[in-house]
Amino acid sequence: MARGLGQYILIRALMIIPTILILYTLVFFFLRILPGNPVMAVVGTKNIPPEQLEHLMEMAGLNKPLYVQYFDYLKGILHGDFGVTLAFPMGKPVWDYISQRFPATLELAIWAFTVSVLLGLITGVLGATKKGTKVDTSMRLYSIIAYTLFIPWFGMMLQYVFGIHLHWLPTSGRLDPGVDLHTITGLYVLDSILTGNWEALVSSIRHLILPALTLGIVLSGAYTRLVRNNMVDVLSQDFIRSYQARGVPDRKVLWYALKNAFIPVVTLMGLQFAILLGGAVLTETTFSWPGMGTFLVDRIDYRDYNAIQGAVIFFAFFVGVISLIVDIVYAILDPRVKY
């Protein structure tokens, strides 16, 4: 069994490759269907000497035939080379940015994810166990409202109330100015604990609260709905009544029902993570959070196609890894999964 699971994980891991390839191909060709070329896009209509243009083209690898570029870049990725930036500051490895920005996004994602799942579970179970009552209706409304909250707006409202009006929490950045933190993982909360820097810990948590709540609440709506519906479904099944008929205490029965209702939620988590990353772009922009999202938006302003390409492919890889983890968790939780 254990060996089977190990091999399953391996094979499932290999299956990320086509997904990333497809997205890479899509993005690669998308970014090249525009008239002119990426370098032209950056320099615009500025009159620059032909030799300098030539040099720029070479630096970006754009003077080679398309298919050579395609495979060159692919080869580069395998060595962690995501190309260089084309716009200010020019010629810096994209990977340097990614390695610096990604931990910030990951930290935000982890907290937002936790908030969303916890909120979704609580509200969903509440709705299902009080099915048909006012509580149920409110939970369903909560689900729809949370789902349709517009992240920047919701973020700004929280900034306005808790930051600007009440002065409780900071509204931008990851740390208060003047707080020093020696980074190890790039996840500030973790780093503060690892280095025993309590001032930084408090500061980083305070900075996390509003962005994580914003993103977490918006994402929780989908969980509320799914948990509620699954739970209602499971609670109406025979095995639940058969537990009751055997004298199993209600508390335990509810727990078993939750376990069953949770399995489809695991599948949703994979997809939700993708939505979470999309939402992170908006959240980071709203809260000036120095992550992958603000990096992407930054580069968009410069029309820096190499950097955009690098960032998107990295996102694809990350999404692939998450779906792998989700599948493994699923296989462990559900004995019916065959591998």
Binding site: Y243, Q244, A245, R246, G247, L333
Partner: protein, 318 residues
């Protein structure tokens, strides 16, 4: 008297109206007695079974009646008192063995749990679980299986093993063999009979009156939420008094009987809006206008232990 059900009514409050799942049902079961409830889908036979355990699924509600089990009304017990009876004094087996076990837990854990929630230490329960599996003719290693790894028949055996954990006073079997093939059905019936031999009373639900014929002591016939006839096997099968009972017997194909079967004309009624008077009157050959469609017949004892709710019991005999 082990179980006495008095005037039990269960309604389902659905979005499209109130379905009167069972109405005014009264009967009793003696110690060691096997009573089979026969009826078509929607007749209320399973609803009553669920009500005895007080596990009527939502949106159903018990609206009136008493379920007196060993001199205590089960419907008035506290949650904890009821929980102690469930699975220990009264056990239940469900219709669909595919859905009546938790798919995420090993069957062994589920069997053991029946005993631990009623105060038996884990270790002892594990030993007894093995014995129970042997009793239902399953190898003890099946305890380590997940439900999806077992066949329907094997799962139903697991359910019976759980029901046997405490030598219950009453076993409620809700169509336990409907999803199974005849040969497996036969062996499951043998197991239930074995349980009865140890003194357990059986409340058995089936739509197949011939299955009722073979092993039960008494038969209860239900139609459209009403108990229409109740008596010993001989009384019901050899001297049926309700026209529905008679029609039901004649509608079932029988390997050992020559001649045709006869359908009952019409369709079962919609229980949101049941027929007035006797609920069977639109399909009944004896129905008399002004009486059967207006006045509900009383459920009365016509001979010793033989009850019927009909204005013309046995009326076809002239």
């Amino acid at each position: 008297m082990l179980l006495e059900v008095k005037n039990l009514s269960i309604y389902y409050y659905t979005l499209t109206g109130v379905v009167k799942g069972a109405e005014g049902v009264s009967f009793s079961i003696d110690r060691g007695e096997w009573v089979t409830f026969v009826g078509e889908s929607g007749s209320g036979k399973s609803t009553v079974a669920h009500a005895i355990m007080n596990i009527v699924p939502s949106p159903g509600r018990i609206v009136s009646g008493e379920v007196v089990f060993q001199d205590r009304d089960l419907l008035k017990l506290s949650k904890e008192e009821l929980r102690e009876i469930r699975g220990k004094e009264i056990s239940m087996i469900f219709q669909d063995p595919m859905t009546s076990l938790d798919p995420l837990r090993k069957v062994g854990d589920q069997v053991i749990e029946v005993m631990t929630v009623h105060g038996i230490p884990e270790e002892e329960a594990r030993e007894r679980a093995k014995e129970l599996l042997e009793k239902v003719n399953l190898p003890p290693d099946r305890l380590d299986y997940y439900p999806h790894q077992l066949s329907g028949g094997q799962r139903q055996r697991i359910s019976i093993a759980m029901a046997m954990a405490f030598n219950p006073k009453l076993l409620i079997a809700d169509e336990p063999t409907t999803a199974l093939d005849v040969i497996v059905q036969d062996s499951i019936m043998d197991l239930i009979e074995a349980l009865k031999a140890e003194g357990t009373s059986i409340y058995f639900v089936t739509h197949d009156i011939s299955l009722a014929a073979e092993r039960s002591d008494k038969i209860a016939v239900m139609y459209a939420g009403k108990l229409v006839e109740f008596g010993t096997v001989e009384q019901i099968l050899e001297n049926p008094l309700h026209p529905y009972t008679k029609a039901l017997i004649e509608a079932v194909p029988d390997l050992w009987k020559e001649g045709k079967v006869r359908a009952i004309p019409g369709y079962p009624p919609d229980l949101r809006n049941p027929p007035s008077g006797c609920r069977f009157h639109p399909r009944c050959p004896l129905a008399k206008a002004g009486l059967c469609d207006a006045e509900e017949p009383e459920f009365e004892e016509v001979e010793k232990g033989h009850y019927v709710a009909c204005h013309f019991p046995g009326g076809w005999r002239g």
